[in-house]
Symmetry: C2
Subunit: 340 residues, 2 copies
Amino acid sequence: MLKNDLILRTIRGEKTERTPVWLMRQAGRILPEYRAVRNALSGFKELVETPALAAEVTIQPVDILQVDAAIIFSDILVIPEAMGLKYEMVEKRGPHFPETIKSKADVNKLKVAMAEDVHYTIDAIKLTKKELNGRVPLIGFAGAPWTIFAYMIEGGGSKTFSKARAMLYTDPELSHQLLQMITDSTINYLKGQIAAGADLVQIFDSWAGILSPAQYEIFSLKYIKQICDAIDEVPKTVFAKDAYFARKWFNDINCQTVGLDWCMDIGETRKIIKDKTLQGNLDPCALYGSNESIKIAVKSMIDQFGPTRHIANLGHGVYPDTDPEKVKYFVECVKELSRC
Amino acid sequence: MLKNDLILRTIRGEKTERTPVWLMRQAGRILPEYRAVRNALSGFKELVETPALAAEVTIQPVDILQVDAAIIFSDILVIPEAMGLKYEMVEKRGPHFPETIKSKADVNKLKVAMAEDVHYTIDAIKLTKKELNGRVPLIGFAGAPWTIFAYMIEGGGSKTFSKARAMLYTDPELSHQLLQMITDSTINYLKGQIAAGADLVQIFDSWAGILSPAQYEIFSLKYIKQICDAIDEVPKTVFAKDAYFARKWFNDINCQTVGLDWCMDIGETRKIIKDKTLQGNLDPCALYGSNESIKIAVKSMIDQFGPTRHIANLGHGVYPDTDPEKVKYFVECVKELSRC
């Protein structure tokens, strides 16, 4: 049914004709074609909530960058909103929650979200699948419960997320109550995405790296495991940025692929995560370099990962001011240099 | 000469009567006594540049928190300023450089700083030593060249420091030229601090963790090594936040102590860094918890590090909104629980 199923075959550990490639944040900000759609709207959230336009910008990088997967254009913060905590996306500053979670009363006002509560993304997936017509797989996604929790307590981005981390010490019981509600909501949401057509799903633990290993195991890993165990329909990828200490645990959880950031040594990670596919991990800043230096960096990455069980990507979302021509060149280099 | 030389004996690997303790950022923001001094001034930089007041706030935590060392009140960004790049400290927002380094012409306008260019900190050290009168050792410090470079290119704090990291790809030669100038300035500055009376020095690589291991080795480790090799007069501590991958290299460099952030597993680090003293690494957020939970966390830390070659500290600077009573309790717990 899929014309290009390279990623799915790579996830299964099959030998493929070349390494598949896509980029985190490929749908969006780097493409002038995206900005043309975006600038006609009131803001980022209007784009997330308008299925026809979300589908359009989801497909743009497949056409323009020639990547091997689409990832639905949405935001991890649709889940807190669906649970009852509204947020705003402030231009150039990031997300802002006018109300944050401070007490048990605040948690008790929230509900466990259902997929229908995020109907716009579910509809966007259906539309995208139809318009993609099997050209490449469509990736669904959600934030890891700890990362969502961090935003709900902190109220926005933060260098330290010290309020969110403080709650783990001051009220571990309430923390677990909220994390469980986020987890249940996320399972409902991902199952809805899969029913709508997502061919695989990725869980983003963007703020994984600010917890001590002991706290990560209790307050993040536990809930990622629940999600992975609840989803059996499609392959799952876990990307926990900066959580180098968690790799030994990810080896044993019920997911097929683990994402690496650019600080994680590839050879070392292969030794820790033995029988899964790895995804990543070029430094996004490498794309500021010359074509020559990009080619050298891609070759080094391809050589280190080897020809199987690797989905090429950056080690983080592509940075907003990256030249789209450099992104195209990155994609071409992966295709050329990995061909068997 | 020093009445309390616990830290120096611990650095030498001697068995001591208990584990020494101090806190990164102990001089400053958490203490009402600090804020009283600070609020009478025009800003943070006036305090840094007024030796009598810098000495006063340096000594405050020795009196109030009963820590085993003082660390001179200053700022890592005095070095770029001494090299010719002025900065402002914007209240609640952090440092801002009106001009940044973009080209070879910009680098060529800078000079290698001498200790006299930071005379206010040198004078503050002399005053502090006199007023401390040997009660505890005084720690001098500087930023690691990569961290200073990152601010000089970026112009301030950043989530990604993508401009600074981009320059490593787009102009590695110019990057090395600037890093060498920062390194030479830092060596001059640290030697001046030592001549003025600093009993040991710490190098802070605050943005170590955003470089890939390969780039860290070339653009950061190389220069930290130069500094460690140039300073023979006093013991040296290297603290490279988030650079877990660098621990294997730190085992082999010419420093006596390595700082750990709270994500670094203690047992694992002891295996990697075999014959040096380790410093750290309680999660700063642990101090938001109850006394009971602080005691449990300190006990776990003390037990894991063991009775020798450990200087107790947090895994990062104490957070500004931490209750000073909790900090005192942390210090008391270390003293009580580590006593042999």
